[in-house]
């Protein structure tokens, strides 16, 4: 075992640079037990809820569906299906607003619940170790499991990569303020999460797992302690409170001291990470055969009278959830999906809860004051002090404002994880992350334009080449034809036959003969006529 692995085994924790301590406000929602919403009303299920290609719709309007029935067939590249959240009738299939910062519409399948909540037939696996890795991966894909931590990458794709692994890391850090969805899930379902971790270990072909929880969740830690006290393969790690400890790269740094290489994956350094919610969903899919049709969502903020955590069926409109929690919006109320650091605001409440929705936050303007006017940067460097990626946010900001895209790439803009720590501390209230996102999008656009220009250039050059080739071929054909003609003539000469030269001579001879005959006739007609004709005709024939 290397020295580093010994350190990791010995419970050593590393630190990551920077980070902030915003008010946690987790007490608002962490105290109440999980409860469910009744299966009723309309559900809107977007066909794409993960990071990858959407599936193909396999239901029709008017069709009756049962809870858990697949609504789409997964596409080829990183595809995942979506499932009916409850039993009912498909009422519409078409574009509608989805949970996305842009507020754009995407293909959504609408279902009117029949209130029965009948499930389709489920196929639990009695003993997962009897199944092969591939069979289990297919199960996870068919269950539609995507990373529930935020990025929504298909879990089966993440597990399909086969490389030597030192650790499977289960992320129960939940460092973002206000959110307690993972906290509640861990408090109430620790055993299922441990079970899910064991299944994940089996699928990943890994022998050791670490479950990481931030120290501000004592109840969750207590729930795991008895389960993991003598566990042979899974260890509990309690990490200090700091934002953004739950970021994949930061948590890896805390637990192992390793750094994921830029533009690389954790698996490049022998690690793979899944969220506690994902571990729970994996357990549910394997042990009970249940596809991913619900998740825990925190509803919180001072403008929600009954904050708490709820099991919410995917596709439930945010409005129904908020009504259940007795919300009291104020004028210009922001409705944030996600947390205060990385969440995005919703344009309206018809947006449905999807696989990556962990929180709906309705802050009062007194608790999260709206941004004030941006002031000039005073180069104080507070942003660089808190940047967990050790970037220089103020330099990036200047480069982004100057649209110096080469400079931005040189300063590693794409290693920015958009955690928002820099903007949080900026005394001039510069919306730094906003500038970075914009610059990233512009750089991506430029790269795309460049790629399509490159394709156009290649096509143009290919056409030029084809034209030249065709011209050369044409000339070659002509040359060959000429050659063939000459050859044929040469053969004809050799054969002594129809030599064209002879033909000419013959023609001349014939003309001479004709003229001679005419001349003879003229002479016969009368010698008294002038002899000019004679002379001329003689000259002609010369």
């Amino acid at each position: 075992m290397s020295a580093e692995l010994t350190d990791i085994e010995a419970d050593r924790l590393w630190n990551f640079p920077g980070g902030i301590h915003p008010p946690e406000r987790k007490e608002l929602s962490s105290g109440t037990p999980l409860s469910s919403l009744p299966a009723a009303g309309d559900y809107r299920v977007p066909v794409k809820q993960h990071n990858g290609e959407p599936g193909e719709v396999c239901v029709q309007i008017g069709q009756q569906v049962l809870a858990g029935e697949p609504l789409t067939k997964p596409g080829m590249a990183n595809g995942l299906p979506v499932h009916a959240p409850t039993s009912g009738t498909i009422t519409a299939i078409g574009p509608a607003r989805i949970a996305h910062p842009s507020g754009l519409a995407d293909l959504v399948i609408s279902i009117r619940a029949d209130g029965e909540d009948n499930f389709c037939e489920l196929y639990p696996v009695p003993d997962y170790q009897q199944l092969s890795r591939t069979e289990l991966l297919d199960r996870l894909r068919d269950a539609g499991i995507a990373g529930l931590g935020g990025a929504g990458f298909p879990t089966d794709r993440k597990l399909a990569l086969q490389r030597p692994l030192d650790y499977l890391i289960i992320n129960g850090v939940e460092c973002e303020p206000y959110i307690t969805a993972d906290d509640r899930l861990m408090q109430e379902h620790a055993a299922e999460i441990v079970r899910g971790t064991e299944i994940l270990l089996y699928i990943a072909g890994c022998s050791k797992a670490l479950i990481a929880i931030e120290a501000n969740k004592p109840a969750a830690i207590e729930a795991f302690k008895p389960l993991l006290a003598d566990h042979p393969t899974i260890k509990l790690r309690i990490i200090p409170v700091k934002y953004p400890s739950g970021g994949e790269k930061q948590l890896i740094q805390i637990l192992t001291g390793r750094e994921v290489p830029s533009r690389g994956l954790p698996i490049d350094i022998g690690l793979v990470m899944h969220n506690v919610g994902t571990a729970f969903a994996v357990q549910d899919a394997v042990d009970h055969g249940r596809p991913l049709i619900q998740r825990v969502v925190t509803v919180t903020g001072e403008n929600v009278r009954k904050p708490g955590n709820y099991w919410v069926r995917l596709g439930t409109p945010v409005e129904r959830l908020l009504k259940r929690c007795d919300y009291a919006p104020e004028p210009q109320q922001p409705v944030i999906m996600g947390g205060p650091m990385m969440g995005f605001t919703l344009p309206d409440l018809t947006v449905p809860v999807v696989k990556i929705t962990n929180c709906i936050l309705l802050p009062a303007s007194s608790e999260l004051a709206p941004a004030q006017q941006e002031m000039p940067c005073i180069r104080c460097g507070a942003c660089s002090d808190v940047c967990p990626a050790e970037l220089l946010p103020q330099q990036l900001q200047w480069l982004a404002k100057a649209k110096d895209y080469d400079g931005l790439e040189e300063q590693n803009l794409f290693d920015c994880i958009e955690c928002g720590a820099c903007a949080y501390v900026c005394p001039s209230e510069i919306p730094l992350v906003h500038y970075y996102r914009k610059a990233k999008a512009e750089i991506r656009n430029i790269a795309r334009d460049k790629a399509s220009a490159e394709i156009a250039r290649e096509r143009f050059e290919a056409r030029q080449q084809r034209l030249e080739r065709e011209k050369a071929e044409r000339l070659e054909r002509h040359r060959q034809a000429a050659e063939a003609r000459e050859k044929a003539q040469a053969q004809a000469v050799k054969a002594g036959g129809d030599n064209p030269q002879d033909a000419v001579q013959a023609a001349i001879a014939r003309a001479k003969a004709r003229k001679a005959a005419q001349a003879a006739a003229a002479t016969k007609a009368g010698d008294k006529n002038d002899g000019k004709n004679d002379g001329k005709s003689t000259g002609d024939s010369e």
Binding site: Q333, P334, P340, T345, M375, G381, A389, E390, Q395, V433
Partner: protein, 352 residues
Amino acid sequence: MTFKIAASPHTHQRRTTRQIMRLVYLALIPGVILQSVFFGWGVWFQLILALATAWLAEGLCMRLRGRPMWSAWRDHTAMVTAVLLAISIPALAPWWIIVIGTAFAVIVVKHVYGGVGQNLFNPAMAGYVVLLVSFPVQMTSWPAPTMLTEHSISVVDTINLIVSGYTSAGYNLEQLRTGIDGLTMATPLDSLRTDLGSQMTLAEATDKPIFTDFAGVGWQWINLAYLLGGLVLIKLRVISWHIPAGVLLGLGLPALLGAAFAPDQQIGPVLHLFSGATMLGAFFIATDPVTAATSNRGRLWFGLLIGALVYIIRTWGGYPDGVAFAVLLGNMMVPVIDKYTRPVVYGHRGHP
């Protein structure tokens, strides 16, 4: 109903530039009070003149640049510049000294370069250097600490001196600077510079009333007060420790070596650290974020450079103190320091 659309993060630590500048004022208070105790009412009049000039100059510049005046006044940066310059010049200097210096600092050094955040040089120190080079007599006429002077100067006399150059009794500044022993009083560093330059030993040179304690009457306490204020700023995370530590190390280490090798000819580290503008420079001037290096490693180098330059100027240069020149030279080096101290970004370190 319409909902507010905003970009993340939706929360913000409410410490604005304005609040940071306020904390800087507050941290300066102990030093300023002690300075007025030792050098009289003049300190307060210089402050008033400087603040008024800065306020007007800032407003004028914003007006000319077609920007809202309130936004510049609100951030208090020009006011901090004014305070730093006012406490850097002799307390009884004529009124036009501070007015010219402050106006130059705000108009030329700050706004001509593009306003707050854009200036390459520390405005207060650039203003100071302009004054020192242009008006050397007025800028080096530090009054002696009040307890060592023959004449005590009243408020009225102070105003008269600053406005007209004479007290109501008809004394001019030169006469007032003459000490109890009939010799013109210089600052400790100035006096040492002159005496050491004329082949006196350190022991002989410090055998004067201004050296009764460890680093010169008045100056040592003022420096301690600024050290205290600076430590508070570090504690409040307004400044990081890197620049002050760099300055004090950069100055203290060569002074220690000098004292070890030539104890008779070289000023010792204690005198260096607690006299002149050392503490003010280390904690309040070199730490101006706009003109300092940005990364922590860079800040340390920036501080070390300034400290070493102060030592060089004090020991071999043409001026008794060198904080202003050292800070400006350090400002010039910032782009180079920033280039070579850029931190390694996550994921770009080599992997075993």
